[in-house]
């Protein structure tokens, strides 16, 4: 016979009860065999769905399809109709003075004729945004054991992370960003006066150049395991290559562990 309070038990387990009702109901479950069994069932099902069933994600092709469809829709109503594609994805974090500076730099980018890989524009925009706004770092730490798990939890990605202070690249933290609407894990390094953003995202077999330069920012791409990486900074391109080599070495060490 199911307990007549079974539905309340489910609501409690789903976090739908207020604190007082939850407290009261917890003691009911402990004294009720049916509700205890229900809790076990609830936990089994939750684990299956959250940890073991497939969570589908949008791939680059679908994202591109949607942007193309949006472009068609916005044709004619666009303020700047000669710009072929939308680029900058605002995260809505900029405010006040930073926002004005950002708006100015963004306007600059929007007025530039689009050229080359749209991903490069997205990365450059994301880099600029991170520097101009206060949204450079979500988790501030020089400890890889803090940054790496944080990225695994928040970006669902686990790129190699280490502090390379001895080699001149100080780890200062990490954040989650969006490239073409897709989640990317970002590790942030300081090299002298320069910030280096290292983006990592799930690989979709994109064709990428090894290097690119856009508006004075140097960009280095590489792939490792099932992740694509991109380091961007206004520091010398040779310095970015040093960091990319260090991270590639770390990927190999991680893979052996």
């Amino acid at each position: 016979m199911p307990c007549e309070r079974a539905q309340t038990t489910q609501a409690y387990l789903d976090g739908e009860l207020d604190a007082a009702a939850a407290l009261e109901h917890e003691s009911h479950i402990q004294s009720c065999a049916e509700c205890t069994a229900l809790r076990e069932e609830f936990e089994t099902v939750r684990k299956l769905l959250r940890d073991e069933a497939t969570y589908h994600r949008a791939d680059a092709r679908l994202r591109a399809r949607i942007r193309t469809a949006l472009d068609k829709e916005t044709k004619g109503s666009n303020i700047l109709p000669f710009i072929p594609r939308a680029r900058a994805v605002w995260t809505g974090v900029a405010s006040g003075a930073a926002a004005s500076a950002l708006a100015a730099s963004l306007a600059f980018f929007l007025l530039m004729p689009a050229e080359g890989d749209p991903l490069i524009s997205d990365i450059t925009d994301a880099h600029l945004r991170s520097i101009a706004s206060e949204h450079l770092i979500d988790v501030e730490s020089t400890d890889r054991h803090t940054v790496k798990p944080w990225l695994a939890t928040h970006a669902d990605l686990s790129p190699p992370v280490a502090d390379f202070s001895k080699q001149g690249f100080k780890l200062i933290g990490g954040r989650v960003d969006f490239l073409e609407g897709q989640r990317a894990a970002v590790t942030v390094y300081r090299h002298g006066a320069h910030i280096v953003n290292v983006f990592a995202w799930a690989d979709y077999d994109e064709q990428l150049p090894d290097f690119a330069t856009r508006n004075g920012y140097h960009i280095v791409f590489w792939k490792s395991g099932n992740l694509t990486f991109c380091a961007i900074s206004d520091t010398a391109v040779d310095d970015i290559l040093i960091l990319s080599r260090l991270l590639k070495g770390l990927s190999q060490t991680d893979a052996r562990e």
Binding site: A6, Q7, Q10, A11, D14, E16, E41, F42, T44, V45, R46, L48, L49, R50, E52, A53, T54, Y55, H56, R57, A58, D59, L62, R63, R65, I66, A69, L70, E73, T74, S77, N78, I79, L80, I83, A86, R87, A88, V89, W90, T91, G92, L110, F178, G181, Q182, R183, A202, Y204, N226
Partner: protein, 181 residues
């Protein structure tokens, strides 16, 4: 890019994973899911002025679900698909479900594939509440909005869906144990 477009992309595109996840689990077909999501994003774009703040995810997922129902209606009328319902005995071959997405397929266990199939075979109204609650972490109120039923119905469907999934999964596990003997 105008301001409206920028706002739409910033708010809606981060939820594209949630949209495709729901669509794949509803349609059980990668190609159909892509069509449903594209259709949904265009409708969301046209209706964006009517969206008045708050959490955009349930709003977007409701549109995804409506587009799926519309597309199903179209197919049904054209006689393309035999729709599974509670009385249909489904075998694996009848499902168009095409397996895990590429990023997770590399090391995908047999176990996981079997589980996906068990979930895919649940009747629509039970499968959708499970996906919305457990994968998208929506509240009862939000699930009621997305599925367009009262909260009480959400609760009873969730309870049945959980019992069904557990029973079918346990059946699968036992069958495997028997086969192993």
């Amino acid at each position: 890019m105008d301001d409206r477009r920028r706002q739409f992309e910033a708010q809606a595109l981060p939820h594209l994973d949630a949209a495709i996840n729901l669509a794949r689990w509803l349609t059980r077909s990668n190609a159909d899911a892509d069509d449903v999501v594209q259709d949904a994003m265009m409708r969301a774009w046209r209706a964006f002025d009517g969206f008045r703040g708050g959490d955009i995810r349930p709003w977007l997922l409701a549109i995804v679900r409506n587009c799926w129902r519309t597309s199903m209606g179209d197919r049904k009328r054209r006689g393309h698909v035999a729709l599974p319902d509670e009385n249909t005995q489904l075998t694996g071959e009848e499902l168009t479900y095409s397996g895990p997405s590429p990023e997770s397929s590399a090391i995908r266990s047999d176990e996981g594939r079997k589980l996906d199939l068990v979930i895919a075979k649940l009747p629509d109204e039970f499968r959708e509440v499970l996906i919305l609650r457990e994968m998208e972490d929506l509240s009862y109120r939000e699930i009621a909005l997305v599925t367009d039923v009262p909260i009480g119905t959400v609760m009873s469907r969730l309870a049945r869906a959980r019992a069904m999934l557990r029973e079918k999964w346990m059946g699968e596990v036992e069958k495997e144990a028997r086969d192993a003997l």
